[in-house]
């Protein structure tokens, strides 16, 4: 379980990194290069991949989302 969660968090951090890189390129390149749009393409690509992997993990029972619980 811990390994699956670690994988999810690492990919999420890569998504955040690409988002930050895009912000940096937007400020430094001022619309004159493709670096911003390319970073954003990475960020959405990784995000879509992450969600698909999570769906697969839930499907295979490798991770359990919060069940219906609570209220003692």
């Amino acid at each position: 379980m811990a390994l699956q969660k670690l994988l999810i968090v690492v990919v999420f951090l890569a998504v955040v990194y690409n988002l930050g890189a895009a912000l940096y390129y937007m400020m430094s390149d001022k619309g004159q290069s493709d670096r911003t749009v390319n970073s954003l393409t990475w960020r959405i690509g990784l995000s879509v991949g992450l969600i698909l992997v999570i769906c697969l993990m839930i499907w295979l029972g490798l991770i359990n989302p919060h069940g219906i619980v609570v209220g003692h």
């Binding site: 619309g31 911003t36 749009v37 959405i44 989302p65 609570v70 209220g71």
Partner: protein, 290 residues
Amino acid sequence: MEHAHHDASKYYVPHGTNWPIVGSVALFCLVGGAANWLNGHPWGKFVSLLGLFLLLFMMWGWFGQVIRESIAGFYNRQVDTSFRMGMIWFIFSEVMFFAAFFGALFYARTLVVPWLGGAGDGAMNQVLWPGYDATWPTNGPGNVGGAFETVPAWGIPLLNTLLLLSSGVTITIAHHALRAGQRGRLLLFLFLTILLGFTFLGFQAYEYMAAYNHHNLTLASGVYGSTFFMLTGFHGMHVTLGAIMLSVIWFRCLKGHFSKEHHFGFEAVAWYWHFVDVVWLGLFLFVYVL
């Protein structure tokens, strides 16, 4: 000021404007009204709605003024830099804003609730709530708000995640189209992005109604209820604002305000949309799944 924009070394000093004070009054009414509405004062609804209309009026007026000044060529490179700096500070405040709410969630979930359940030396459990068995999600040992169920991640939250991610894909296609100078593709995919954004909001409203009516999960459901609704609610407001700004940008694209090299308005709003999308991804992971 008419000649200042031709000289890159001179800073364009804007004329006096009333929009900031209009915006402040609008936000005060919107949030103050909403807080009173939630606490059972019927007049809060009207004050809140008044604030909303004032805010939309401000957006119409302020956006319009800036766009007209930009088209008139008033903005030189220094103003361009200040717009970009403004964006950076705006994003910084946004990151801090969501960091505070995510921080509250993590603090409650990984520290406070286990302490109450007897983690550490067990003192808090013995002294405050003997017999409390810590779990997450929880409304705390006091069972504040009564028994509730969480919204299962496999239903509407997943659908909404897919909707927002699709909108991230469509806006990226629109962005590439803008850089390639393909106007038709830009307008089509930007329009699809807006459509997906509003569809997301529709489902989110439906989910809130289901949470209140069927799961008894409300803003008053202890620490889980309050963090859940604060995080998803403020995210929803950001999607609303993003969708409004995307709509403005769509009309600006239609009017040909942007070129391959000059499109900061588009790029800033597109980036903001990606940011809101990543916040949702974090929400989905940490609130619903992990």
